[in-house]
Symmetry: C2
Subunit: 409 residues, 2 copies
């Protein structure tokens, strides 16, 4: 007998029929002898419907009230799922974030979970019930309703799993697991049976939008085994866990691509201390997030400084940088918003040299020019022209044999 | 400076534009120097939408979960109204029933308010805010969400007004007050400036569906001045208060008609103790509510026993009574579901004789046969054939000069 936390997203509970299917899945887990806590999101479309109502009244509505409004979405789903479970003869009880004391800070619309009172949940489980908890929401010290931001239901599920010391946290989505790359780009993409928290974090932050980054961080921190699987199909999904020493591990777990990038270069800047700050300070002040940063060693006391931002911030960033460049006496500012970032991710590269050069060689062989490079311990990212995205992904997927199960299985 | 509780129903907050209008009305009251607590219902159509979702999953859903579900309707409105108020520069804060501790019993879907913690509301008012409270909902001792039943938002408003010792509780609806009779039947019907709690109770229970009966009882019990007025038009509405000794009072305040009636007569029953119980016992066991009851003095040791039920229960009641009549050796059972109840209501009749005979005379003059009569201290009801409804109402309205303001104003 184990305790499982299951989380179902908006698409999985999008209408009465689908809610019925979720109830069937929950009951199947109960029949296997598990205690089950279910976390649900708002029905798909509901959050947007509520946001639209709010924006009709105020394009920038009060964040406290926005949280009161949006929290109703999940409250509707917990009631409906509990009704579906009870109809099927399965004792169930719904709880809002406030009712199980999902205590957060007071940062409305992006609150962080501080604490969960597991008592009420354990009491309800002991009474033989399935416990259905509203995702995405909590309550601050003063009793105000808060929300965790979009995708926050994943975080609720992981936080509950950690607080309850659950054996597994299962995230049901509309995909059947984490893939070696986007199957729409490379049809040979393969579902991973297993991936580490660190790899998943890199994959998630690079654009594989299966899980919310914060929930993966949380799961890693509290070592909650996390499983991504499909609401609509049978299958084991992908298990996300800590790295195990004797795990059969591929060098590379996946290839990701991110189109949301734009690149800015300040060329011919006098190479003095403080250059980075003088360029990036005003960018940060404008609340623009910077992703990659590269500074080339200069000749004649001049340096080239390049960084990337989200494509939506490109125009704003360009204006700011042009002003800064003028003040600094830089030669020129170049910008390009037709670039993409392609990355390979894998904990295996830690202990293997030559991964980077194999990546660069593969791209060169396809005639793809690399515009920027950035590396971390388990990731290598390159910026290339947008037109090469699919070609780069497929070439790397093939070069690192990602279509094959590691160990030749 | 006074404290006013305002309540807006579902039609008044039916869309963003109307919510904006409500915000304007609230701000107007603030500008007159009042502290304002607003109670709102779910947007019109929302409760039905949620019920439909629940019934797709279970035609008889769990009542606990139904309350969790339906409570979201009002929660949406409090957030939207607060957003509209803040957009207009008026500090506001929303509270669910749980957040202001509207403590109820645990009778899900028809809970009764036990207590309200006024502290949080006073603190928010002191901070210069409009306080927006979700109607219709509360929370029981265990922290479960409860609802008060349809129309419960009126009760929330009155209970809040009582707990806060508010100067007035204003119920905004889609009519501009309480009328001497239904204006669709008698175009000369006149809006009453003032009516007593007792009269309003009789009018409400007789079918004038302006206010929920329970909220009027509550207002009477705690002596909360209650004002019914229109969300859409300017005007003073109708004030419902305790009777004042020197109030300029008409003999009769209104004429009401109720079509939801059906009549059953058990004729020729042996006149023995226990007759009423033997007939009405099985009716009560079948959960059928009985309205009027008349037993005629019998001849030859026989009696006629007549009572009325809601028209929806007529067929069921007829079956039950036929069985009981047979057991008792009654001569026959007669039934009629084409009858209506017409009543005149007024505290003035307490101290004036002759009101009843004036009523009977008026009806006789129009050739309307009276089938049953029932009286209370401030009401006289007669049952007549359905076809006479409009004629009876207009004749009585005119006979008691209800089109004229009392005192000739």
């Amino acid at each position: 007998m184990s305790l499982i936390v299951q989380k179902y997203g908006g698409t999985s509970v999008g209408n009465a029929e689908r809610i019925g299917n979720v109830a069937d899945k929950v009951i199947a887990a109960r029949k296997q002898g598990h205690d089950v806590v279910v976390v649900v999101s708002a029905m798909s479309g509901e959050t947007d419907r509520l946001l639209k109502l709010a924006r009709e009244l105020d394009p920038r509505p009060s964040e406290r009230e926005l949280d009161v409004l949006l929290a109703t979405g999940e409250q509707v789903t917990i009631a409906l799922l509990s009704i579906a479970l009870e109809k099927r003869g399965c004792a169930a009880r719904s709880y809002t974030g406030a009712q199980v004391c999902i205590r957060t800070d007071s940062a409305h619309t992006k609150a962080r979970i501080m604490d969960i009172d597991a008592e009420r949940i354990f009491a309800s489980l002991s009474a033989g019930r399935v416990v259905v908890v509203a995702g995405f929401q909590g309550v601050d010290e003063q009793g105000n309703i808060t929300t965790l931001g979009r995708g926050g239901s994943d975080t609720t599920a992981v936080a509950l799993a950690a607080a309850l010391k659950a054996d597994e946290c299962q995230i049901y989505t509309d995909v059947d697991g984490v893939y070696t790359t986007d199957p729409r780009i490379e049809p040979k993409a393969r579902r991973l049976d297993r991936i580490t928290f660190e790899e998943m974090l890199e994959m998630a932050s690079l654009g594989a939008k299966v899980l919310q980054i914060r929930s993966v961080e949380f799961a890693g921190k509290y070592n909650v085994p996390l499983r991504v699987l499909s609401s609509f199909e049978q299958g084991p999904g992908t298990l996300i866990t800590s790295e195990e020493p004797n795990m059969e591990q591929a060098l590379i777990s996946g290839v990701t691509a991110n189109r949301d990038e734009a690149k800015l270069t300040v060329a011919g800047v006098p190479d003095q201390p403080g250059v980075a700050h003088r360029i990036l300070g005003p960018i940060a002040e404008a609340n623009i997030e910077v992703d990659m940063i590269v500074q080339n060693v200069g000749e004649h006391g001049l340096t080239d400084f390049t960084f990337t931002v989200h494509r939506n911030d490109y125009d704003k960033a360009l204006d700011i940088v042009k002003r800064a460049a003028k003040d600094m006496g830089a030669r020129e500012v170049q910008g390009d918003n037709r670039i993409v970032k392609v990355s390979i991710v894998g904990v295996g590269m830690r202990s293997h040299a030559g991964i980077a050069s194999q990546m660069f060689q593969t791209l060169a062989a396809e005639g793809i020019n690399i515009r920027m490079i950035s590396t971390s311990e388990i990731k290598i990212s390159v910026v290339v022209d947008e037109k090469y995205l699919e070609l780069a992904v497929r070439a790397l997927h093939s070069a690192f044999k990602l279509e094959q199960t590691p160990g030749g299985k």
